[in-house]
């Protein structure tokens, strides 16, 4: 039945339904992904951030919360300049990490 309107889907993250198997496989090749302390240095130094919202911090969090589609879309705006790896206090090779995320997402 068409009422002429519909309820938008819930934006809540239901952790019961989040499938982290892909994330776990990614973490095996990129163990540094678990080292992120969400300080935001990467996003603040990212030249693409203010135009497209690209943010490694958000990408890592998104994967942990099962928002893989949003992450893949966001990463498509990354220019791979590597500025984020220079500022990361945890020494995460973010550029390499972004490439790995892209590779993993394509495989599926």
């Amino acid at each position: 039945m068409d009422f002429g309107f519909k309820i938008s889907p819930s934006s809540a993250v239901n952790l019961d339904n989040v499938d982290l198997s892909l994330y776990d496989r990614l973490a095996e090749v990129e163990p540094d992904i678990r080292k992120c302390i969400a300080c935001g240095s990467c996003s603040a130094s990212c030249p693409a951030n203010r135009f497209s919202g690209m943010s490694v911090r958000k990408a890592i969090l998104g994967l942990q919360r099962g928002k893989e589609k949003e992450v893949a879309k966001m990463l498509s705006t990354c220019m791979l300049c590597g500025k984020c790896s220079m500022v990361c206090p945890r020494g995460i090779n973010t550029r390499h990490l972004i490439l790995s995320i892209c590779k993993f997402y394509k495989e599926d």
């Binding site: 969400a38 935001g40 603040a44 951030n49 911090r57």
Partner: protein
């Protein structure tokens, strides 16, 4: 004859331990490499949480240790292990034979110029927490304008929680120090807009949380959750500070007249050198390794060698004093047991 106890370091840990050991009837000998007692606390102005003058704490300790042997401007040249004691040669030519050594060697402050992106030593308006305390003490610093800064910021975790700077540990006291200094600046310059850039605020100690609430509610200090990624200068000579406001997920940019870097606590390189003379082990965080990190913090794995204060990791002033008293008691028990 009274037993000699060699205390390396004349900061608050060394002084407090010496004062207790005097009361217990020993002969403490303090070796201090600088020209004054009190260590880092002597460079500070006021201490959280009750804004106690640092000078008060130091002068009380100095008065209590007036009967101890104190050598200023002196270092340990070398150490010979005898059968069950140590023969220690000091740089002033004096040698001391003792069965008991207390490391109260403290910490070093992280060299903020190593984080080039924050511009310490490059831009005129960037200073450290220690520089600000120095200004509180002397009122002399060209970086702070007489009418006060219109806007200023504090950067937390400079050289702390930073694997690239090889300091993965939290320095423990900078969160509350930044909040304290922000309040002090606001008291001096009520018109100033003050920002704190933090990753996490670790308000673990007595009344720290009250400080934090008061900074927000009574002083209007603005807290932004995000690590500063870079600092630059505009054509007017003001600082442009960039960070991500991780709570809103948006990049932030702000123009400031003054930026204070909260340089963290790192292990003292001279401590490692002295510890190397008697092959004392170093823990995975770069500080001296205790026999046990829960039950025996003040004891080293080597017999007759004890620790007090920040040589085993970042500590607050009351923690350091408590540890110094505890080390004095451990030393007393150790010497009584041997007799």
């Amino acid at each position: 004859m009274k037993d000699n106890i060699l205390i390396i370091g004349g900061g608050i840990a060394g002084l407090e331990a010496a004062s207790q050991l005097l009361k217990l009837g020993y002969n403490p000998i303090i070796v201090e490499k600088s020209d004054h007692l009190g260590g880092h606390v002597a460079d500070w102005n006021r201490l959280f949480p009750d804004m106690t003058p640092a000078e008060e704490v130091v002068s009380r300790l100095v008065a209590e240790t007036s009967e101890a042997n104190i050598f200023l401007n002196t270092e340990i040249s070398f150490v010979n292990k005898l059968k069950d004691s140590y023969n220690i040669m000091l740089s002033n030519g004096i040698s001391v034979i003792t069965g008991t050594l207390l490391f109260a060697t403290g910490f070093s402050m992280f060299d903020a110029s190593k984080k080039e992106e924050y511009g310490y030593g490059i831009y005129n308006q960037v200073m450290t927490n220690r520089d600000l305390e120095h200004w509180f003490n002397t009122g002399k610093d060209a970086r702070i304008p007489e009418e006060g800064p219109a806007a200023m910021g504090f950067v937390h975790c400079v050289g702390s929680r930073d694997e690239k700077a090889r300091n993965p540990q939290c320095s423990k006291v900078c969160c509350i120090t930044a909040v304290k200094q922000a309040i002090e600046m606001k008291q001096k310059f009520p018109e100033a807009m003050i920002y704190c850039f933090y990753m996490d605020l670790r308000m673990f100690g007595k009344k720290y949380e009250d400080f934090y609430i008061s900074a927000q509610r009574d002083y209007g200090i603005r807290f932004i959750r995000g690590r500063v990624s870079e600092v630059s200068e505009n054509i007017e000579g003001k600082l442009i500070v960039k960070a991500e406001d991780t709570l809103s997920g948006k990049p932030v940019k702000v123009t400031l007249d003054l930026l204070v870097l909260m340089a963290g606590i790192v292990c003292n390189p001279d401590t490692c050198k002295t510890a190397g003379l008697i092959s004392l082990p170093v823990d995975s965080d770069g500080f001296l390794k205790s026999r046990d990190n829960i039950a025996d913090i003040t004891e080293s794995p080597k017999e007759g060698i004890f620790y007090a204060g920040a040589c085993t990791g970042p500590k607050t002033v009351p923690e350091t004093l408590a540890e110094a008293r505890s080390a004095a008691l451990e030393i007393h028990n150790y010497i009584s047991r041997k007799k």
